[in-house]
């Protein structure tokens, strides 16, 4: 790290907001320690930091709550961590407009609390709401169980302010719920993992807090019976807000926090369905669900506590004290159960334990793998992960290696190949960040 750069950073944002040396341990990713971690307190300071790093050609790693910091290819050079936590102001919330404008460093939990006081919420429920910041959630396109009904960031983000690699403050979209003026820049930054710009402010659509909400768990003897029940549910008139399919291991992690305890142990699979709306609507739908699931062998319909929601979002990850690897998949909904079944089989045959869960209605699956042997040799883990990826790809889906030791990441690519679209992505990167300052090397296609 050039001392000159450090000095300038300190001058711009104050020495207390520039961390170095041992203070950097929370920001170590894939074994690489950043050169500094800086925490600007205003938009202009974010721009100044990027300008200074740009001049010095030192990479910038935007950092929210750090919950997805390890997702991505290992960086060639750790660079300067740009923390957004101090930018957390609620800029504007007008309940009659059902929109909010907020700085990106606010955590999801803080934002929900502020909105909840006024009877509204952001219908986005990723894991780690206490730590994950809005900016990070947008950049990683994170979502939770309620995405079944309410979609993801792309359905909620209507405006965004970013600082680009050339330190310009740029706005895309706007503050109104319907808007087709200009290109849809919010879409460009969602899921861009900090490679195109640093998100500093966002405007989002909100929803009224529903009067009633309930989660119900049903047990099935076999995964494929649960999958048949999911099909029946999706083809019915019901309007669930979450449709989660869990294997017994993930279900056990979910059930562990519940009063009744172990949810899934005796079962082959557990289906957890959420409903919201008026109390009578929730009531009626729960009854209908039990009726729909019965012919498929669904039994023991059990209401879960509202505390089960955040556990549901993290059920796979929390299934083991320390997972060796976590992989997520996007497949068509019809492929979910097969992927879970066969994926578990492949791992079992090689002596690995796994946990599986899916947002079954939208085809988003995640799996954790744990090796009880001492995995000095990453080969077998890599073998399983590669097979999983092939299974997803065979059905037109894809896989992302969310978390794994460096030795595994160096053999199994984090991202799937985007195909010919990858060249368009590279051109976009070259247009917006020609000097490759923002999170270089971390994303798909070498971006």
């Amino acid at each position: 790290m050039q001392d000159a750069l450090l000095e300038r950073l300190r001058a711009v944002i104050g020495p207390a907001n520039v961390l170095t040396g041992v203070e950097l341990s929370p920001y170590v990713v894939d074994g690489r320690t950043p050169e500094a971690a800086v925490f600007p307190g205003a938009l202009e300071e974010v721009a100044a930091v990027i300008a200074l790093c740009g001049q010095a050609e030192v990479p910038v790693v935007p950092w929210g709550g750090g919950t997805a910091a390890s997702v991505g290819m290992p960086a060639a050079r750790a660079g300067v961590v740009l923390g957004l936590r101090r930018l957390a102001r609620l800029v504007e919330h007008e309940p009659g407009d059902l929109t909010v404008t907020v700085e990106s460093g606010v955590t999801i939990a803080e934002l929900q609390a502020a909105l909840g006081n006024r009877g509204q919420w952001l219908s986005l429920d990723p894991a780690d709401a206490e730590r994950a910041t809005l900016g990070g959630v947008l950049a990683a396109n994170a979502a939770g169980p309620r995405r079944h009904l309410y979609g993801t960031a792309r359905d909620l983000l209507i405006g965004v302010t970013v600082v680009t690699a050339d330190a310009a403050v740029v706005k895309g979209g706007g503050k109104v719920v319907k808007n087709v003026a200009g290109y849809d820049l919010p879409k460009l930054f969602i899921g861009s993992y900090g490679t195109l710009g640093v998100i500093v402010e966002a405007t989002l659509k909100l929803r009224p807090v529903p009067e009633a909400e309930r989660l119900v768990a049903l047990r099935f003897a076999r995964l494929k019976d649960a999958a048949a029940a999911v099909r029946a549910l999706l083809a019915s008139d019901l309007i669930p807000n979450a449709v989660e399919l869990l294997d017994p291991t993930a279900a056990a992690a979910l059930g562990a926090g519940e009063a009744g305890g172990a949810l899934g142990l005796a079962a082959g699979a557990v289906l957890v369905v959420g409903f919201d709306g008026l109390p009578e609507q929730v009531e009626w739908q729960c009854a209908e669900l039990a009726r729909l699931a019965a012919p498929h062998g669904g039994r023991d319909a059990t209401p879960l506590s509202s505390a089960a929601w955040p556990r549901l979002a993290a059920a796979v990850r929390d299934a083991f004290p320390v997972a060796t690897a976590v992989m997520s998949f996007d497949v068509v909904p019809a492929q979910v159960a097969e992927l879970m079944e066969q994926g578990a089989g492949v791992a079992r045959a090689r002596g690995f334990q796994t946990a599986w869960a899916a947002h079954a209605g939208v085809g988003v699956v995640s799996a954790a793998l744990v090796s009880d042997r001492e995995p000095r040799e990453p080969g077998p883990v890599c073998g399983v992960l590669s097979e999983w990826r092939e299974m997803a790809r065979a059905g037109g889906g894809h896989a992302t290696l969310e978390r794994a030791p460096l030795a595994v990441k160096s053999q199994v690519p984090v991202w799937d190949d985007p195909g010919a679209a990858g060249r368009v992505m590279q051109r976009i990167k070259a247009q917006l960040d020609p000097k490759r300052i923002l999170n270089p090397g971390r994303f798909v296609a070498g971006i």
């Binding site: 007008e94 009659g96 037109g396």
Partner: protein, 491 residues
């Protein structure tokens, strides 16, 4: 734009015919006239050729030919656009997608359909309705407009309040890039690796390439629907009711507003049972589960009453519901009876600013000596002031255009947008600085460069530019064919 010599033109025509077949190329000026404008007849421009490909490979070959020749090209769907988006602003090729109109696949289990871009919006819903599904985005032009045009403009409709606009329903696109490469953006799954290029393509107004296949979501039809008409003696009360409904935790499928001029025009023409002396009416539709529907309807009724509605009526049956919607949907035809011409504006404001902005709209139009009828998607703040005028009066059209620009400025001032669904196209390119800074536009331009580095794909749109190549006037409004046939209205 240099004009092609006739020898060059003949040679090119032959080459194009070799690609798409002899029946797939127009170059006769009389035939080209049909393609000189879209639904906004304020702008006209003639192409050198109109080409009708029937496959992505055709499109790719035509695009490569255009690239080789340095000829601009633009995709065209049904030509119902209202911002001049599909105009060949600088000559060159119009690539009509109308012969690529097949439904390739309907996958009910995964609730998606794969279609070609020339498919008419409503035809998709027709295809899936027997199984209880529909395609949600419902522009009023849905009997004619194509999915390709919808994608390009990110079109909306009355029911997009609850269900979202086109972009919320698109999963993937096969695109012929401006350099002729065929690329998939997105796919059949909810996400694909890398940037959300399908999301970025939607709303790019034909400047990022030409979509040749589209994967969209199809939705289950809701179990129940309820429609409420609320009548107000003051426009402000109707506006306030819109926010009140939203603030009470209700998300209707649609909230549409009509003002007095519109109501009277509709009643004079069709007699749908709206009170003629009302200052404004709201049409509110709820959909969803049968259970709880009455309770929710009651809340809407109450919210309207509390906001000062003098009468609130709930449709008792499908016939009454259809009648209420007929009033809303026949507003266009009705304007035609009270004025020889009108121009529809499209702007968006925060819902809570409705009372103020509607007052300003009326003031602005009156100051230009014109009349305005407002009929619009009030629930999402998407205004459609329809300025009535007589094109035979010298200068009338210019005053309409001026009033329109002032209205857009007001939308921008209150934190809104200059387009909610019709797009920027040629019409509003020069208004972009009302809401975007030079830095904002520069990033958009760089994004465009990544897709369309030569700029040959639909030039002159979206970004502020001189309109020198395009003839303006003399008649801003003439009914689109689907309007003339009474199939659709434009808001």
């Amino acid at each position: 734009m240099a004009t092609l010599t006739s020898g060059r033109k003949t040679a090119l025509r032959r080459e194009l015919e070799a690609i798409v077949g002899p029946g797939g190329v127009l170059s006769d000026p009389d035939e080209l006239l049909v393609y000189e404008s879209d639904g906004l007849t304020l702008f006209r421009a003639l192409a050198d050729f109109v080409v009708f490909p029937t496959s992505a490979e055709h499109v790719a070959a035509v695009v490569r030919l255009a690239g080789r020749e340095g000829l601009p090209f633009v995709a065209r769907g049904a030509g119902t656009g209202l911002s001049g988006g599909c105009l060949p602003a600088e000559g060159g090729l119009v690539i009509s997608m109308m012969r690529m109109n097949r439904i390739l696949e309907i996958d009910y289990e995964n609730q998606l359909a794969v279609v070609e871009p020339g498919l008419v919006n409503l035809h998709l819903s027709w295809a899936v309705v027997p199984k209880g599904y529909y395609y949600a985005p419902d522009p009023s032009s849905q009997q004619a407009c194509t999915l390709g045009g919808n994608i390009a403009n990110n079109s909306g409709g009355p029911h997009t309040l609850k269900y979202g606009v086109t972009t919320n329903h698109v999963l993937g696109l096969e695109v012929v890039m401006p350099d002729g490469e065929i690329v998939w953006l997105g796919g059949r799954t909810r996400a694909t690796p890398g940037y959300d290029l399908a999301g970025v393509f939607v709303g790019s107004e034909g400047t990022f390439g030409i979509a040749t296949k589209i994967v969209v979501r199809i939705l289950k039809k809701p179990q129940a629907v309820k429609t409420v008409l609320a009548v107000f003696d003051q426009v402000d009360h109707a506006s306030a009711a819109v926010s009140a409904i939203i603030a009470r935790g209700l998300v209707p499928a649609a909230v549409e507003m009509m003002d007095q001029l519109t109501i009277q025009a509709v009643e004079d023409a069709f007699g749908c049972g709206y009170p003629r002396d009302a200052a404004a009416a709201l049409l509110v539709e709820l959909d969803g589960l049968r259970v709880g529907m009455d309770a929710q309807t009651e809340r809407i009724v109450q919210a309207c009453r509390d906001a000062g509605a003098r009468e609130v009526r709930t449709a008792r049956d499908e016939a009454e519901r259809a009648l209420l919607w007929k009033g809303r949907k026949s507003a266009f035809g009705a304007f035609g009876r009270v004025s020889p011409a009108y121009m529809v504006m499209d702007g968006v404001i925060p819902r809570t600013k409705l009372p103020y902005v509607l007052r300003r709209v009326n003031e602005i139009v009156a100051a230009h000596g014109l009349r305005v009828g407002n009929v619009f998607h009030a629930g999402d703040g998407n205004l459609h002031p329809n300025i009535l005028y007589d094109p035979r009066v010298p200068g009338a059209e210019a005053r309409v255009v001026e009033a329109g620009a002032e209205i857009m400025k007001v939308c921008a001032e209150v934190g809104g947008s200059i387009s909610g669904e019709h797009g920027i196209g040629l019409e509003k390119a020069d208004f972009m600085p009302f809401i975007f800074s030079a830095a904002d536009l520069a990033v958009m331009q760089r994004l465009k460069n990544a897709f369309n580095p030569t700029g040959l794909c639909n030039p002159g749109k979206v970004f502020p530019t001189k309109k020198s190549c395009v003839e303006v006037g003399p008649v801003a409004y003439t009914p689109h064919a689907i309007e003339a046939k009474g199939l659709a209205q434009r808001f």
